[in-house]
Point group: D2
Chain length 137, copies 4
């Protein structure tokens, strides 16, 4: 079973034009806890203002969307359209990989809710996100 889940998550995270642009790497998952952890390596193409090496909020939002989706895939077994997404930016991240953990809050029949925390490699909280997803979609 776990091989199938790992393959499903790896295929989703690596598949599609924009996913490849992001370059996400699956770090792990916990079926019992309903969590998935993913790494987003730093790229200069994700810079906010030229020369700052600060992460732009856009790739962070995209990353949060996908890691919340990945968590709910543990229940649904397939990629799930996002209904709405909310991001809170807490702290600038400079020239660091980002590590996000997505967690299922609720996996209903039609609507799922996931929470995501994004940290830098030193464990500082960079952003939090929460999204609703169309489980029947």
């Amino acid at each position: 079973v776990s091989e199938t889940i790992e393959k499903m998550l790896t295929d989703m995270l690596g598949g599609g034009g924009f996913h490849e642009t992001l370059g996400m790497v699956l770090e792990g998952y916990d079926l019992e806890a309903g969590t998935v952890t993913v790494r987003l390596p730093w790229q200069i193409g994700f810079e906010r203002l030229p020369g700052t090496k600060q992460w732009h909020g856009g790739p962070i939002a995209s990353f949060i969307d996908l890691v919340g989706d990945a968590a709910l895939m543990l229940k649904k077994g397939a990629a799930i359209p996002t209904i709405d997404l909310r991001i809170d930016y807490l702290r600038p991240a400079i020239a660091t990989d980002l590590i996000a953990t997505g967690r299922i809050v609720r996996a209903g029949r039609t609507v799922g809710l996931a929470d995501v925390e994004v940290k830098d490699t030193e464990g500082r909280l960079i952003a939090v996100g929460r999204g609703t997803y169309a489980m029947g979609g």
Copy 2:
């Protein structure tokens, strides 16, 4: 004055690693109304699932963030850090440029609020967004 504003917006939309990746184009602005309109041309690198030519939600979220920021720049005169961002995805967009209009809802001393509507080239509403920005940041 308008030349300065146009330059400020063009510089922001075109500057920085991730902004260049997006490739946004300023379509216009209205200082009185507090609105800015921007085009995001379709790129295969923004595709959601391989072969669908459907826009991924990530670039749409990034686009909304930046167009809301651009609207508030009409008041602030400089790029503004995002505090939080909320996106509602309404309809898939397939192989089309996206046109977003950002509108100032409130430009306070410390917090600004902007609304953004994203449409396809046929005028269908694809997504709406709302963000708070740190005006003093």
Copy 3:
């Protein structure tokens, strides 16, 4: 038809323990535009800090939730459970009735989205809200 719609809205706004506590009054609706306008009269029991006569955010949030719901009832014909709700508070409101207009942004088969603007009696924007509702619920 319009008599039925007015009765449906009046019944919803006036029915239920908490609705009666709020004391909302239907001001009008526009079936074509997908909008509903409702008045919430000032009550000292909605005060924030003692002696300020400032509206507490709680009744404003409740009001926004219900006016968004009322707008989507134009399509659905019945009260609709809220999935999620987002409120932005813009300006204190002091000892004034509140007037809210709810507008359908999207009425999907499973999920609906409504926008709500709350103004005081002088037309100043007090708060804006956006909610998703379970149309099949």
Copy 4:
């Protein structure tokens, strides 16, 4: 010190017209963890549809707003205006007291972020909320 904090929280939760209407009771707080736990006793005046004894979403939203505020008061030492508030409703709550725990996510100089979880007396998650607050306000 703890007596002062308890008094501050009790005064806030019990003070003001709408706070008295709600009837909240402080259950506890943890200064280290940045959390505050509050009980909201069931009242028939908070009913959604007549005869259902189901909690209306409005009092739940108000409760979340105030418990998030209470958590940030641990840092700020005074009540804090809400900038924006987001609620996700997960499950109906029927004729039960509600217990909410608010937690500081970030207490910045100008903006604070708090998370709130609302459970029924059997520990089932009823709703989650997240709010930004004007720490300098």
